[in-house]
Amino acid sequence: MNDSRRNFLLKGFSASGAAWLAANWPRQAAAAEKAQAMGAFTFFTRPQAAEIDAIAAQVYPTTDTPGAREAQVIYFIDLALVTFAADKQKVYTDGLADLATRTKSFAAMPAAGQVALLNGIQATDFFKTVRDHTIMGMFAAPWHGGNFGKAGWRQIGYDDSLNFRAPFGAYDQA
């Protein structure tokens, strides 16, 4: 996804419907698609989303292959926080408040500064939680909001067709 599309998404309208989503888990697939199409967030404010998106982009960076940003992991995390990970909301709000005491805008920092800051908070609950959620967002099925275009699955050679015949790998060929 190009940068202007991402910026459009982050600038999208603020969301409603968190309660609806919570009530309808795990039928959030359709909701995830809608939210992305609208660039809407259910839990985060747009500035919060920009900060978390920037952290996720360092946890799983864009290299010669897509990273968390292209995989739209921020939408996965946003939905997670009103569904299966609702108990982690405080970890995020507290973590973001702490982050604000360290930098005016994490997203606006140069990459080297971002990495240095994250190294300093690696042991916190906040960072560990964002790390785990970023990775889940890379490798959970796309209908949960991340893994856009199966970007994560492609990178680790995972075929989700759920129906295989042996041989499966390089060593069990007849």
Partner: protein, 556 residues
């Protein structure tokens, strides 16, 4: 499905619907007896298995009614290493759904070898342990292994070796694919002169008894099977029980007590209807069969205290909950040059059998184990665990994650564990479960011998991975068990009521119409692959019970 009124005095109440309970229910219902099966877990996708969830994220965070395993935050348990410690929060979990652990298990289905029933007389006892002979011999149980294998649907190799128990009938189905990990294991075995065979599994490989063969989807252990290829109790046994018109399954029904009358006979069970505001209901029964697993079975006996049975039901020996063996493992992992794609297919394709027998003199410890080749990791699981020898996030994490993807193989070992009386399940004096009942407390430290065994198998795993051509190998640290789905030994069988809880037909020594059959009946633990033996014991128990009940006297 037949419905019984709780006030009706049914012939049998069976507590638990897993590997043992479903066999009991099916055999008793087919013989014409009225049976009510109590299952504390939900229905799962019983009868509509095509709906089983294959989504890794929602499988990891299921809604309450979609859970297939117990939740240690609700089925609360605590753990401590020894009686001097205060127990802290435990993570013990087990299959908790109609069909029990067989709905989600890896499905390895090895028989015990003949000498695993009389290790004490064959190899001698060991100080500090309760190693004893079983009151039942392999020859007595062999016909029931065959019956279980053919009725349930077991696939496996038909190879004659002293490392596999002798069989009166071959396996009904050809084995599953050995996968790349199995092929590598076979390559190493050639070099190291080890015996390797395809795995024996309760997964059918071609159509059988109206069910479809495995499609190797890979979302296997921990998931329900959407094509009914895994021969779980819920697809292989319970539908037959229900079809008789004699058997009712009650899901969401959590038994809190087996009740007794003044003469000491069981009268039925009191349970919570979880879907009815936990209303308490009493189901009357002529006979109670307890098959709630190696940890919940002793807990329920201990919860069923009464004036007559002050230390818990069927506990005059004091051994209810004692001699817990919850299963030891450990192994090693390696990376190979090309993709194995272990995420496809079942969990285990092949096993090393050479170290199953006891060889105390050569190895310096008592016991043995079965080594299994694996490597299956689903995408989220792999990402969270991370690549070997790399940071846990950032560009180097990502690079290594991609490089190592699908190239990992792991040897997971199933190792003997000695029965030690101080390893036990009892009631936590403080912690309660979500229904306000005393939580299960597990106390366990393996015998020193077992630590040597674990180290031995870790070392052999490293050797095998090198011989198979791994470019990098790393070993697990020795790690003692803390509970788990393979729990055994906690209501042991025996002829002497002073040192055992049930007799050789699983009748409680103290309660003439209470039968206890599941992993808790084990006297010694085998090689930590218990399910096939649990099923066979249940077939044997049911056979006895049907014959006895037909003569009008189940107390013999």
């Amino acid at each position: 499905m037949k419905k019984y009124n709780p006030a009706e005095d049914v012939d049998f109440v069976v507590i638990g619907s897993g590997a043992a309970g479903a066999v009991m229910a099916k055999q008793l219902a087919v013989a014409g007896f009225s049976v009510v099966v109590m299952e504390q877990g939900p229905w799962g996708a019983y009868g509509h298995e095509q709906d089983y969830n294959k989504d890794e994220l929602s499988n990891r965070f299921p809604a309450e009614d979609d859970m297939l395993l117990s939740d240690p935050r609700r089925q609360t348990n605590t753990f401590r290493r020894n009686a001097n410690e205060k127990a802290g929060p435990g993570h013990h979990s087990y299959g908790c759904v109609v069909g029990g652990g067989t709905v989600t298990y890896g499905a390895s289905s090895w028989r015990h070898l003949p000498w695993e029933f009389n290790e004490a007389s064959r190899f001698g006892t060991i100080a500090g342990t309760g190693v004893a002979d079983w009151p039942v011999s392999y020859d007595e149980i062999e016909p029931y292994y065959s019956q279980a294998e053919w009725e349930i649907g077991i696939s496996g190799p038909n190879i004659k070796t002293p490392l596999i128990a002798p069989m009166s009938r071959p396996y009904p189905l050809k084995p599953l694919p050995v996968k790349s990990s199995g092929a590598l294991l076979m390559k190493a075995a050639d070099k190291l002169k080890l015996t390797v065979t395809p795995n024996v599994a309760a997964i059918i490989t071609e159509p059988y008894n109206g069910r479809a063969g495995c499609i190797n989807c890979g979302a296997c252990s921990g998931y329900g099977c959407q094509v009914k290829a895994r021969s779980s109790s819920a697809v292989a046994l319970l539908p037959i029980a229900v079809a008789t018109g004699n058997c009712e399954i009650r899901a969401f029904s959590y038994v809190r007590e087996i009740t007794v009358d003044a003469s000491g006979r069981a009268t039925g069970v009191t349970y919570f209807e979880k879907k009815n505001n936990n209303r308490e209901v009493f189901q009357k029964a002529k006979c109670v069969v307890l098959s709630a697993n190696g940890t919940e079975t002793p807990r329920l006996l201990l919860l069923s205290r009464s004036n007559r049975f002050k230390d818990g039901l069927a506990n005059s020996s004091g051994l209810v909950g004692k001699f817990l063996m919850s299963g030891n493992g450990g192994g090693a992992s390696g990376l190979f040059p090309d993709p194995l794609n272990e995420y496809k297919g079942c969990v285990t394709g092949a096993a090393v059998l050479s170290y199953v027998p006891n060889d105390t003199k050569a190895r310096g410890f008592y016991g043995g184990g079965r080594m299994t080749a694996r490597g299956q990791m689903s995408p989220i699981q792999y990402g969270l665990a991370g690549p070997h020898g790399a940071p846990s996030w950032g560009a180097d994490y990502k690079k290594a994650l991609i490089e190592q993807a699908n190239r990992r193989m792991t040897l997971v070992n199933f190792i003997s564990q000695l029965p030690v009386e101080t390893n036990m399940v009892d009631l936590d004096p403080e912690a309660k479960d979500a229904w306000g009942l005393p939580a299960m407390r597990i106390t366990s430290t393996s015998h020193e011998n077992d630590f040597k065994a674990m180290q031995f198998f870790i070392d052999r795993s490293v050797d095998i991975l090198h011989a198979a051509g791994a470019t990098q190998v790393w070993a697990d640290k020795v790690s003692d068990s803390r509970g788990g789905a393979h729990s055994r030994g906690t209501a042991r069988m025996g002829n002497d009521p002073r040192v055992s809880v049930v007799n050789k037909y699983h009748r409680a020594h103290d309660v003439p119409n209470l039968f206890v059959v599941d992993g808790s009946s084990f006297v010694t633990g085998g090689r930590n692959h218990p399910t096939m033996t649990i099923s066979a014991l249940a077939y044997r128990c049911a056979d006895h019970l049907v014959k006895a009940a037909r003569t009008g006297n189940i107390t013999i």
